[in-house]
Every structure is written in structure tokens, then in C-alpha cells.
């Protein structure tokens, strides 16, 4: 009986020794197990599509597995909170836009999560559109209309939790007009309202409106980009139209909880640079209006975020908007 127990104990010890093999003979290579990439938005959105498109190439480069999990809710706050509270071993990372550090702190301080950028990956410009047969053929027309009929011009955005609203206010302030804001959290519905002539303008992601503008149903009056888009030079930027301050766009990337090991940073930054540098992939993503702009320099990311935050916060204070 006693020998049997001793045997069992020895076998158990052996099993454990084999199990701890990795730690005994040096550090395991990151990523040694599947990385859970939490996308803080629902399936089908720009962020979700982006990560699913690049997932396979990233896996090859990292020689590991990535599993994408959507945790939508509260404008990205639920997913961000989840990652902020996850173990900081680099196996739970987050795909989210900079708005969590620019818009949210300004309008909803309670919704801020303790997440830290690893790299920013792509930008999507926002576009201001009108119905094609609307009398407003340009931004100038729209501003003239608003001056003629104060409050008569209606424009939809996704609401105060996204950049578009602030771009709209930046243009309105600079032009000295008052626009009646019609918030609509559902971009599809908002676009349908413009197409049906119920609302004059819509300001939102270029991805959703581009096909309709190509087909001649919507007219793009301006986009939020500092430079002309290389593949769509015919689209006027707000900067060209005299509103350089209205340049808040969607800039999304990879984030993690605080105090990640340095190895996680270097591994992912290198992988993203290599994978997203592929011109074919860039061309594919450009079709969905996602423009690769990899930024891994921490200082630069922070100053970029700070600049946008201050711009947004100023409007938030002036307009008295805050999630209560």
C-alpha cells in the first residue's frame, strides 16, 4: 500500500516536472499560446473587419495563434475595461480607436479605461455628405444655406461619443453657423435619412458612404484628412476648404493593459510594421477606406492623443456636453 502511494507521488512529481519544463529551461517564446484579441466593437464594423483581414498574416509573422473576440458595448468601454483588468502577460490585447483616449475622457470621464497603446495601425477619414440632387453642391453652399436660414441646416452624426460630432462643431464654429444636430447612433439609418431627404447632411466614416457617392447617390462635400487621399484625389479635404482644424478622424490600433512586458511591445510592433507594410494588403484595405499609418513611437502617440483631446475637450466644455 505504502509503496503504491509512493509510486503515485513520484509519478505526479514527474508529470509536474515535465509540465514545468518550459520554465526550467529558459523563458518560453512569446506568443507561446493563443493571443486573445478583444475587438471592443461588434462584428462588421471597421475595426472588426480590419483585424479579421490582417489576422492570418499576423499569425504567420508571429508564429502564433490569434483569436478575435468581439466585446461590444458602451462605445468600446466594455471591451476596454475587460482588457484593462486582464492579466498583463500579453495574451489579452485590445483593438480599439483613439477615441477612447480623446473623445471619451472629454465627454464621459467615467467611461475611461486604463489601457495603453502598443501601436496605431490605420486611419479612416470621415466624410460630410449630402444627397446628390440636393441644392447643396459644396460645403460653401451648405454654409450659405445655414447662414440664410439659421438652424435650418440639419446634419446627422453618430452622436457625441465619436469624432464626427466634433468635426461638425469645428466647421460650424469656424464658419460662424448654427447646424441642427440630429444624433443617430446607427450610421446606416442616418445615411438612409439623407438619401430619403429627411436630413440634409451626414458626417461619418468614409467607408460607408463611398460606394453611394461613386454611384451618384450621395455627394461628398469634404473629408477629414490633412492630406489628399492618394487613391481618391477628387475628394476635397476640409483643410483645402479652409477648415484645417476639422481633421479628427478614426485612428485605430492595438492596445493592452498597463505594464506589459517589453517583449510584447517589440514583438507586436515589429509584426505590425512588417505585415501592414505589404502593398497588396494596403491596397485591399484602401478599398474599404482604411489607410495604413503605423505609429509605434509612444511619445508621438501620446502627443497625438493629447492634441485631439484638447481640441475635443474645448468644444465639449463650450457646448456643455457630457454623459451624465
Amino acid at each position: 500500500m505504502r509503496t503504491k502511494r509512493a509510486l503515485v507521488i513520484m509519478i505526479l512529481m514527474l508529470v509536474f516536472m515535465v509540465g514545468f519544463n518550459g520554465t526550467i529551461y529558459g523563458q518560453p517564446i512569446y506568443p507561446g499560446k493563443p493571443v486573445q484579441l478583444v475587438v471592443a466593437y461588434g462584428p462588421g464594423g471597421a475595426q472588426d473587419i480590419f483585424w479579421r483581414t490582417v489576422k492570418e498574416d499576423l499569425e504567420k509573422n508571429l508564429k502564433g495563434t490569434i483569436s478575435i473576440v468581439n466585446k461590444p458595448g458602451a462605445g468600446g468601454a466594455l471591451g476596454s475595461d475587460f482588457v484593462a483588468n486582464a492579466k498583463n502577460d500579453g495574451y489579452t490585447l485590445l483593438g480599439v480607436a483613439t477615441s477612447t483616449k480623446t473623445v471619451i475622457p472629454a465627454v464621459d470621464p467615467k467611461g475611461v479605461s486604463d489601457i495603453h497603446p502598443i501601436a496605431l495601425a490605420f486611419r479612416t477619414p470621415l466624410a460630410l455628405v449630402a444627397k446628390n440632387d440636393s441644392p447643396m453642391k459644396s460645403l460653401k453652399d451648405a454654409i450659405a444655406y445655414a447662414k440664410e436660414k439659421p438652424g435650418g441646416l440639419t446634419c446627422s452624426t453618430q452622436g457625441i461619443q465619436a469624432e464626427a460630432y466634433f468635426d461638425l462643431q469645428l466647421v460650424a464654429q469656424a464658419a460662424g453657423i448654427k447646424v441642427t444636430h440630429v444624433p443617430n447612433a446607427n450610421p446606416t439609418d442616418a445615411i438612409a435619412s439623407v438619401l430619403g431627404g429627411h436630413v440634409d447632411l451626414y458626417l461619418g466614416s468614409l467607408t460607408a458612404v463611398l460606394p453611394l457617392s461613386k454611384a451618384g447617390k450621395l455627394r461628398i462635400l469634404g473629408i477629414t484628412s490633412d492630406r489628399k487621399l492618394p487613391d481618391k484625389p477628387d475628394l476635397p479635404t476640409f483643410a483645402e476648404l479652409g477648415f484645417p482644424q476639422a481633421n479628427l478622424d478614426l485612428y485605430a490600433g492595438l492596445w493592452g493593459p498597463k505594464d506589459l512586458p517589453q517583449e510584447v511591445f517589440t514583438t507586436w510592433q515589429r509584426a505590425l510594421k512588417v505585415v501592414l507594410g505589404n502593398p497588396d494588403l494596403q491596397a485591399t484595405l484602401r478599398k474599404s477606406s482604411m489607410y495604413i499609418e503605423v505609429e509605434v513611437d509612444r511619445e508621438k502617440i501620446i502627443s497625438l492623443i493629447k492634441e485631439s483631446f484638447e481640441k475635443i475637450n474645448q468644444i465639449a466644455i463650450k457646448e456643455g456636453i457630457r454623459v451624465k
Binding site: 462588421g44 458595448g73 458602451a74 441642427t180 435619412s193 460606394p211
Partner: protein
């Protein structure tokens, strides 16, 4: 005529063996995710999305769409067998489907659900082929004021969704509307009734409530021993609908298909609301409204026809304008962009072989679904013979998984459990769940469209009466409310009394 020629060319694409395979894989996965409560098409679509990048766009598109309409087929199975809607669009199917299963007629109910889906799929497809471009523009004329009036009309239908008293139905509708207010205010983004819970900011999720109210509360009620086991076991009468069932269902499901298709075209309506509306309307015009809810075959055929037709209706704005209705279509739109297909008004012109190939494949897929689902009926019915302790533990497990996978969020599980308990009490005191659910579905859209309309009209309520379509819907709502007095249609207690007499 041109459409027919195009459709035949499309059939050539769709009938290529590889595309047939993708179509089959799509509808098969669709059926599976449809059957499993909570695990919806969105999850399956996003998982399979990267795989479709490696195949020709038309094949990928066929696969993804197959999952979508396949899930509409499968959603009814658990509704009928265990009173848990597999998909949100199968909530209404529970009412008569489960009642039929309790009478031992699960087979005919499942069979009719499959046939009605196929039938509606066919009607919807013809609508799609011949009317798509012209109808898309029509759907756009529904703006915020029209939405509000349409929702008001929808809300009057709660009167027809309860088999007990009208007062209780109205109370439940009010509870539903109050629940619909939870979350961030759609205009001012003020938090309402969230009590600091982050997950409540987006409101009380409809799917969680449904799984709790139907699935979990069903288990709780049955454990109490109110249901006799023998009912299920002894009389499983036939597996297919009888000629009489066909006669009873044919006209209602034709109406439901047409109405469902047209409602699906309106961006923002999606597939859930049409099932409620068509069911309530059929009950309204039926010669025996008192029997709805007690297990009539039309009660299964109508919502199943409506959700399939509506699912195809939603493809009208998607394919002809690039405007997706609901998350599933949004995902497909995203996929099309990655394929480089330029979804939107130009899709038909730029890639006719894709457009018509996909349309033709949907027809083939519908046939496959019918062939796939009919033999499965025999297997599904056997589920009812599983011992209760195993069946119920499994149901509770699926309720929990289903609630969690909606947003991968634990709070949704708590909400589901809470509504399971509430649903149990509601059954005890004879309060019907459907009015609550309808109000919860209509509420957010009704509120935001009301407030958007008022913003657009600068505070004037006349906007609802000045616009013809809006005025029409409001008129219909009024008619719906006063017609019982004029026609002396029997409602509420009278229905109950008559049902008791039978």
C-alpha cells in the same frame, strides 16, 4: 424579361459544383447556428469571414448569405420543441409552435415551419429579382416621422398578442416600453436607469430578455410539475402537415410573405418586427382569433413565412443601395468591400455575374434547406423523449451560453437569469410575455424617431400629420384601436371565455 435572362445566366454560376458546395456548407452552418439558441448567424459569419477571402468573391458571398437565410430556417426548431427561440425572429413561433408540440404535433409544426420558410423564400426571391431597384427608393421615403407612426401602429397590435386580459397586455406593453428606456438617452446621451452598470448603457438587450422570459422560465415552470410528461411522449401524431393544415395556412402565409417582404425593405425594420405584425394581423382578421396561441398551424406558418420574406426584403436595400439592415447584413457588406466588389447601387452593373449568381444560389439554397430540414424533423422530435433532468440541464446551459455569446459579456447572463425569474412569475399570474417583447423591440426605434422628427420639425408635432405616409400609418393605428368597438370583434376576456368553452 431581362431579369429572367439574367437569372438564367446566374443559375449557370450558381450551379457550378464548387458554388453548390459553398451554398450547401452555408445553409448547413446556418441551420446549425439557427437551431442553437443565442449562437446566432453573426458569430458564425465573423468566424468564417477570413476563410472566404481565399475563394472567388461569388463563392464567398454565396456562403455568407447561405448562413443568413439558413439561420432563419433553423430558428424555429427550438421555439417549437422547447419554447426557446433559436433566433430573435422566431419568438412568435413559440406561441403556437410550442403549444402544438405540447399537443403532440411537433412534427407537423416543424414541417410547416420549413415549408412556410421555403414558400416565403420563393416569394421574397421573386420580389428581389423583379422589384429590387424600384423598391429600394420607396423604402427610403420612410424617414423619422414615418418610423414613429409605423411603430405606433405596431404598438396597437399588442392587443392581439395576449390570450388573457387586455389590461394585463397593456400593462406588459408599458413595462416593455419602460425597459426600452434603459440606457443612454439617444439624443442627449444622459444615462437613464443604468445604476452605474456599464453594460446597461446600451439598454436591456432584447435577446437576453427573450431567452430568459421564454427558455429559463419554461424550465422553472415545468420543474414545478404542472406539465404532464405523457403529453409529449404518447401522441406524436405524424411528422408532416396534413392537407387540412395546408388549407389553413396557405392564405395567411401568403399574406405574411408579402407583408414581411415589404417591411424588410424599410431600412431599420429588420426581421423581428414583421413576425409580430403579421401574426397580430392574422389574428385580427381570423375567423377564430380565440384559437391563436393554443396551437394553430397558421400561428407557426405566419411568423416563419414573415421572417424569411423579411430577410430577403432586407437584401433589397443591401444589394441595390449598399445599405445594410441589422448587424448580419452589415457584416456581409464589409465582406463584399474586402472582396473588392463595390457593394452599392453599382453592384448590379459592375458585377452582374456576382449579383445574379448569388440570387440564383439563394433559390437553390432554399431548396437545399427544405431537403435538409425535412429528414431532420424525425430526429428533432426525438429530443422531446430525452429525460427531463438531462433535457432541462441542457436547456439551462444553452440559455446561459446563448446570453453570454450575444456580446461576450457576463452581465447579459445576469439579465437573462433575472428575466427568467420574472417570466416565471408572469406565467404564475397569467401575464403574457409577447406584448412586453414587442414593446421592447419597438420602443427604442419609436423613441429615437419621435425625438429626431421633433428636432427636424423644430418642435412641431404637425410633422406626423403633414407627411402622407406618416398620416396613413397613424390612421391605420387609430382604425386598429377603434375597430373592435365598431365590428364588435371579440378580444381579451371574451376570447378566453370562448376558448374555455371549446
Amino acid at each position: 424579361m431581362e431579369s429572367i435572362v439574367n437569372l438564367i445566366t446566374g443559375l449557370g454560376t450558381a450551379l457550378q459544383p464548387i458554388n453548390l458546395l459553398y451554398c450547401f456548407v452555408g445553409v448547413f452552418i446556418g441551420t446549425l447556428v439557427g437551431v442553437l439558441p443565442g449562437i446566432g448567424p453573426i458569430g458564425a459569419l465573423s468566424l468564417l469571414l477570413p476563410i472566404t477571402f481565399h475563394v472567388p468573391p461569388v463563392s464567398g458571398f454565396i456562403l455568407l448569405l447561405g448562413i443568413c437565410y439558413g439561420s432563419q430556417y433553423g430558428g424555429s426548431t427550438t421555439s417549437i420543441l422547447v419554447n426557446i427561440p433559436g433566433e430573435a425572429s422566431s419568438v412568435v413561433t413559440c406561441l403556437d409552435g410550442y403549444a402544438m408540440a405540447r399537443k403532440g404535433k411537433a412534427g407537423p409544426a416543424l414541417g410547416m415551419a420549413a415549408f412556410a420558410s421555403f414558400y416565403a423564400g420563393t416569394i421574397g426571391l421573386f420580389g428581389l429579382v423583379f422589384l429590387a431597384p424600384s423598391l429600394a427608393e420607396l423604402g427610403l421615403r420612410i424617414g423619422p416621422p414615418e418610423y414613429f407612426s409605423l411603430m405606433t401602429f405596431g404598438l396597437t397590435l399588442v392587443l392581439y398578442l395576449s390570450s388573457s386580459s387586455i389590461e394585463k397586455a397593456l400593462m406588459m406593453a408599458c413595462v416593455g416600453l419602460i425597459l426600452a428606456m434603459v440606457g443612454l438617452d439617444p439624443i442627449t446621451t444622459r444615462a437613464r436607469f443604468t445604476y452605474g452598470v456599464m453594460a446597461l448603457r446600451d439598454g436591456v438587450g432584447f435577446a437576453q430578455v427573450v431567452i430568459g422570459l421564454f427558455g429559463l422560465s419554461e424550465v422553472l415552470t415545468t420543474i414545478e410539475g404542472s406539465l404532464k410528461r405523457e403529453v409529449f411522449q404518447t401522441h406524436i401524431k405524424g411528422l408532416l402537415p396534413t392537407l387540412r393544415d395546408w388549407k389553413d395556412s396557405f392564405l395567411p402565409m401568403t399574406r405574411a410573405s408579402i407583408l414581411g417582404f415589404f417591411m424588410g425593405i424599410i431600412p431599420g425594420i429588420s426581421v423581428v418586427i414583421p413576425t409580430f405584425v403579421t401574426y397580430a394581423l392574422e389574428k385580427r382578421i381570423s375567423r377564430h382569433p380565440e384559437r391563436f396561441g393554443t396551437g394553430v398551424i397558421e400561428g407557426v406558418a405566419v411568423p416563419e413565412a414573415a421572417n424569411n420574406a423579411a430577410a430577403e426584403g432586407t437584401l433589397v436595400p443591401l444589394l441595390s443601395l449598399g445599405i445594410p439592415t441589422g448587424a448580419t447584413n452589415a457584416l456581409i457588406l464589409g465582406a463584399l468591400m474586402i472582396y473588392g466588389l463595390n457593394p452599392g447601387p453599382l453592384l448590379i452593373k459592375d458585377s452582374p455575374h456576382v449579383f445574379w449568381g448569388v440570387i440564383a444560389s439563394m433559390y437553390i439554397g432554399n431548396g437545399m434547406l427544405l431537403l435538409l430540414n425535412l429528414p431532420l424533423i424525425g430526429i428533432w422530435v426525438k429530443i422531446l423523449k430525452i429525460p427531463y433532468h438531462i433535457l432541462f440541464s441542457t436547456i439551462i446551459l444553452f440559455c446561459l451560453i446563448g446570453a453570454y455569446t450575444i456580446n461576450n459579456n457576463i452581465t447579459d447572463m445576469y439579465i437573462m437569469i433575472l428575466f427568467g425569474g420574472l417570466g416565471y412569475l408572469m406565467r404564475k399570474f397569467d401575464y403574457a410575455a409577447p406584448p412586453l417583447i414587442l414593446a421592447l423591440v419597438l420602443g427604442p426605434l419609436m423613441e429615437s424617431s419621435l425625438r429626431r422628427s421633433i428636432i427636424i420639425s423644430k418642435g412641431s408635432f404637425s410633422i406626423f400629420f403633414e407627411r402622407p405616409i406618416s398620416a396613413l400609418f397613424l390612421g391605420l393605428a387609430l382604425l386598429m384601436l377603434i375597430s373592435p368597438f365598431i365590428a364588435r370583434k371579440r378580444l381579451g376576456p371574451d376570447i378566453l371565455r370562448e376558448a374555455g368553452d371549446e
